[in-house]
């Protein structure tokens, strides 16, 4: 990886990135490797909250062995560029679950890039991504699911929703499927929306100030992403960091 030349926008997985910021940290270190042993069940999380102006790139290469499970929860909120990538290979009867939230403002570019390979039969994967973008921020989800020829009875979903707080913010969502098996269930959906004006007026009519009303609607929008976090203390940290970031945007 380190020997490669700087990426360009012609490469699909870099199309929406902030390449000047990428150049500032190039060449990238080797990706972090996670291997989940056969039958094991593990939970990981990352709060990407790099300093303002910084470029933070986290690459993960993940192997989930037969019968194993990984739950990964990600909050991507910091830096000028915050990019987190996952290259996941699933063994037989294994599971990968990703709950990811992007919350960005200013000129931030925040990205989640996933490549999930169902290499063996009977594996399942779920990806739930919620993005909230204000000001001139760009949030992107590029996710490919690849189902190998022998990976029958694969069950995979991608649920991607973005909320734009300002007309100047940008959301990119690109779920992609490449399927070579024939007994496969792959669901994917992507939406981009704005805060519900009727709900905001209803809340105001009950006395809620606009910031409180917006924060409540946005919290409910990202709620669910962190529902499955097994460790309550971790869950609290993720939610507290998400809320603190939201409060800077409303």
């Amino acid at each position: 990886m380190t020997a490669l030349a700087l990426p360009t926008r012609k490469q699909e997985e870099w199309r929406y990135s902030d390449l000047d910021a990428v150049a500032s940290v190039w060449p990238l270190p080797a990706p972090a490797r996670i291997a989940i042993q056969p039958g094991a069940s593990e939970a990981y999380h990352l709060i990407q909250n790099a300093a303002e102006g910084a470029a933070a790139i986290h690459d993960y290469v993940i192997d989930i062995a037969d019968g194993a499970r990984l739950d990964f929860h990600l909050l991507n909120i910091g830096g000028k560029l915050g990019r987190v990538t996952f290259d996941v290979t699933l063994g037989r009867d294994s599971h990968f679950e990703l709950g990811g939230a992007i919350i960005g403002g200013g000129d931030q570019t925040l990205e989640i890039v996933t490549k999930v390979t169902h290499a063996q039969p009977d594996a399942t994967s779920g990806q739930t991504i919620r993005s909230i973008l204000g000001q001139r921020a760009t949030g992107s989800y590029l996710g490919s699911i690849n189902v190998a020829r022998d990976a029958q009875r694969t069950d995979a979903f991608q649920s991607v929703k973005a909320m734009l707080l300002d007309r100047t913010a940008t959301a990119n969502a690109k779920p992609e499927l490449e399927i070579f098996a024939d007994d496969v269930k792959c669901a994917h959906g992507a939406t981009v929306g704005e805060l519900d004006r009727q709900a905001l007026f209803y809340m105001a009519s009950r006395g809620m100030d606009p910031a409180t009303a917006k924060t409540l609607l946005l919290r409910s929008f990202v709620a669910g992403v962190f529902d499955g976090v097994p460790d309550e203390a971790v869950k609290d940290r993720l939610e507290a960091a998400a809320l603190a970031k939201l409060e800077t945007l409303v």
């Binding site: 709900a199 105001a204 009519s205 009950r206 809620m208 606009p210 409540l216 409910s220």
Partner: protein, 247 residues
């Protein structure tokens, strides 16, 4: 309490209210009736401050304060409650969370301490019982999956918890069967029939007025009040129809 003087407004450049005047004192219940398209709901939304309802002339003061100088949430904190004809659904936000944030926002605006969780739950239970609404309903997202009648009961529970000075209730009777109408009528009386409070009922029909007896009845047609009277006016409207009375 509420003084509306020669109020005119526009929605998308179309004039709806055309010089409407109305005066409501503490301790009074007023009913506004009128045909479809007269501007009844527009009056409610304009007083509530809904975006897009542009005031083009006239004034409204609420307890001596220019109502139109206040943002919608400030009007609520000042004691105005708007009962919606079509209550809005808010997925993902529970009624209890919604109401607690609302009440505490109001209290903060008035310089009062927020209500504790325990005190709030006690208040919510009391008001839900008053309207015959199961507390379990209040744990569910705001109005999501509620029947028409449940939405209207929930609106009145909201009113009970927020304890406004003036309630403007826009067709609170629509979608209610006879039994629910009785419960909601009794709820309005219990919460709002007090010397320091007032109610403006907006309705098509006399039937709600059997349970919440108005002191004054007004007929709204073509953007202004064309006739005012006592409770007998509602009966006359029911008997003769709007066309006869307005003409």
């Amino acid at each position: 309490m509420l003084e509306i003087d020669n109020l005119s407004n526009e929605i998308d450049g179309k004039a709806i209210l055309k010089g409407l005047s109305l005066s409501i004192n503490a301790g009074e219940v007023h009913a506004i009736m009128g045909p479809n398209g007269a501007g009844k709901s527009t009056l409610a939304y304009t007083l509530g401050g809904r975006p897009g309802y542009e005031v083009t002339g006239g004034e409204a003061s609420f307890d001596g304060v220019n109502l139109f100088s206040l943002e919608p949430h400030e009007r609520a904190a000042a004691g105005l409650f708007l009962g919606f004809q079509y209550p809005v659904e808010i997925p993902g936000v529970s009624n209890l969370q919604f109401l607690r944030e609302s009440l505490n926002s109001q209290r903060k605006a008035r310089g009062e301490e927020p209500l504790s969780g325990g005190a709030f739950i006690k208040l919510a239970k009391e008001k839900a019982a008053l309207l015959g609404l199961d507390m379990e309903m209040l744990k569910r997202p705001v109005n999501v999956g509620f029947s028409g009648g449940e939405k209207k009961r929930a609106e009145m529970v909201q009113m009970g918890i927020l304890d406004p000075k003036l309630a403007i209730l826009d067709e609170t009777d629509s979608g209610l069967d006879i039994d629910a109408l009785k419960v909601v009528g009794a709820g309005i009386n219990a919460i709002m029939r007090r010397p320091d409070k007032a109610v403006l009922l907006i309705t098509h029909y006399q039937r709600l007025l059997d349970y919440v007896k108005p002191d004054f009845v007004h007929v709204l047609a073509k953007g202004r009040i064309v006739k005012s009277g006592g409770p007998e006016l509602a009966l006359e409207l029911e008997r003769e129809g709007y066309a006869e009375v307005v003409a």
